[in-house]
Amino acid sequence: MKNSPIAIVDYGVGNLLSVQRAFHYLNIDAFLTDDPNLIKRAGKVVIPGVGAFPGAMKFLNQSGISDEVKSLAEKNSPILGICLGMQMLFERSEEYEVTEGLGIIKGSVESMRRSIPASTGIKIPQIGWHPLRREEVINPKDSLILKEFDFNGEVYFVHSYMSRPVEASVIKSYYSLGGVEVPAIVELGNTIGCQFHPEKSGPVGLKILKQFSAL
């Protein structure tokens, strides 16, 4: 349902308010919850990017939210994973210890150091603003979330792990780092992953949230 209130997963840990505040700033109704029933009722969920993979997945599993999110994915309901939230859409991650993810998108999450060694001079965690270049968007017409996007602007990344999707077609945009193409936006139907923080990328990022609310 377009423009219905959006559920934001409340981990009880980290900065969750920014995502909600960003939606409110855009006059979009969004609420924090750890109740899978409320997520089901909302039919539209944002998984914010806080903490670390093992702890976050443990929370999702124990609260029943994992099952609900997987169920929403099967119904092709809109799901937006931000940063760690995007990583959890995948099958597994090696952050701290190998942990199973939601498995909605095939592929795994690995340390960025595997492909970008320290000898490149590039620091991890990668903290910084990067543009999503138009020519780096694999098929803009294909992307639900990048309509209306301002390709002259930059978005804010802060991460030490990156996703490695099995199917290249899910990658809608990447950014270049040390010669490596780091997935920035992945989409599988209405399941969307955003490696950067749209709620921390100024007006450019807010457009992503606006676009998500319209799905």
């Binding site: 900065n15 965690p125 903290i127 910084g128 603003w129 002259n152």
Partner: protein, 265 residues
């Protein structure tokens, strides 16, 4: 003078340095001091924060300058209110002593916490916090003062109390424990307008591989160029330079562009 050709060759696809507005706060006021002493009241922090966001700064750092007096961070209300209409990363510091303090700060709307005294008193806090909240949320804040030996000593309590710790060793420990970023304030240079401690940042870059935010000493654009090109700071925090309106972000970005350094649009 900076030679543009040489720097483009040497740094190639250099990543964009982050330009950070630093606000030191006492109670309800934005303050500014010289060498972390002698304070002047400048006005409402929320107004300054919003202005800097709208002007195009990349991040904000909010430091509670009197937290050590009360033993806790008092900025929760401020963070809460400014995060309603400011959508860039916010780091908060001052008086962060335990996991609950961090939880509360992040819950109020901060993205990262900067920890100085709390980490020196209890280094395990960094380890515990990075495991719960993620390394990227934990910034090790260091106040560095050059000692007679030529090395730098870490200070606490706004540059007043020597800790006995060597900065380079301490920062290395902090990163091993899980700090995702280092905020380095030069006690010697802070508020002097004489330039950053380029040597310090450069040395730190030889010791650790996480991003470094340099703070303290900006008097003019050349200082900024030096700390980026020579010190290789990943981010630069400005306070005095912007609060007194002696420079603004647009001029700064133009000057960087002229020197071949790209900042965020």
């Amino acid at each position: 003078m900076v030679k543009i050709g040489a720097f483009v060759m040497r740094f190639g696809k250099m990543l964009k340095p982050r330009l950070v507005a630093r606000l030191d706060i006492k109670g309800e006021n934005l303050i500014k001091g010289i060498q972390l002493e002698g304070l002047r009241v400048l006005g409402n922090p929320a107004d300054f924060a919003l202005t800097y966001y709208e002007q195009g700064f990349d991040e904000l750092i909010l430091m509670d300058a009197v937290a050590s007096l009360y033993g806790r961070n008092n900025l929760l209300e401020l963070i809460s209110s400014i995060s309603k209409n400011i959508f860039i990363p916010i780091t908060v510091g001052g008086g962060i002593r335990n996991v609950d303090d961090i939880r509360n700060a992040l819950r109020a709307g901060a993205d990262k916490v900067a920890i100085n005294t709390g980490a020196i008193l209890n280094p395990d806090l960094i380890k515990a916090a990075s495991e719960i909240f993620g390394s990227q949320s934990i910034v090790l804040s260091v106040e560095a003062k050059k000692s007679q030996s030529g090395k730098w000593e870490a200070y606490t309590h706004n540059g007043r109390e020597p800790s006995g710790l060597d900065v380079l060793e301490w920062v290395k420990t902090g990163v091993e424990l899980g700090a995702g970023e280092i905020l380095v304030t030069s006690v010697d240079r802070e508020g002097t307008r004489k330039g950053f401690d380029v040597e310090l940042i450069s040395e730190l870059n030889n010791h650790i591989e996480v991003p470094i935010i340099a703070s303290g000493g900006m008097g003019g654009i050349q200082h900024l160029l030096d700390i980026i090109n020579i010190g290789k700071a990943d981010a630069v925090a400005m306070a005095d330079y912007i609060h007194y309106n002696r420079g603004n972000i647009n001029e700064i970005k133009k000057s960087l562009a002229k020197a071949g350094i790209n900042a965020r649009h």
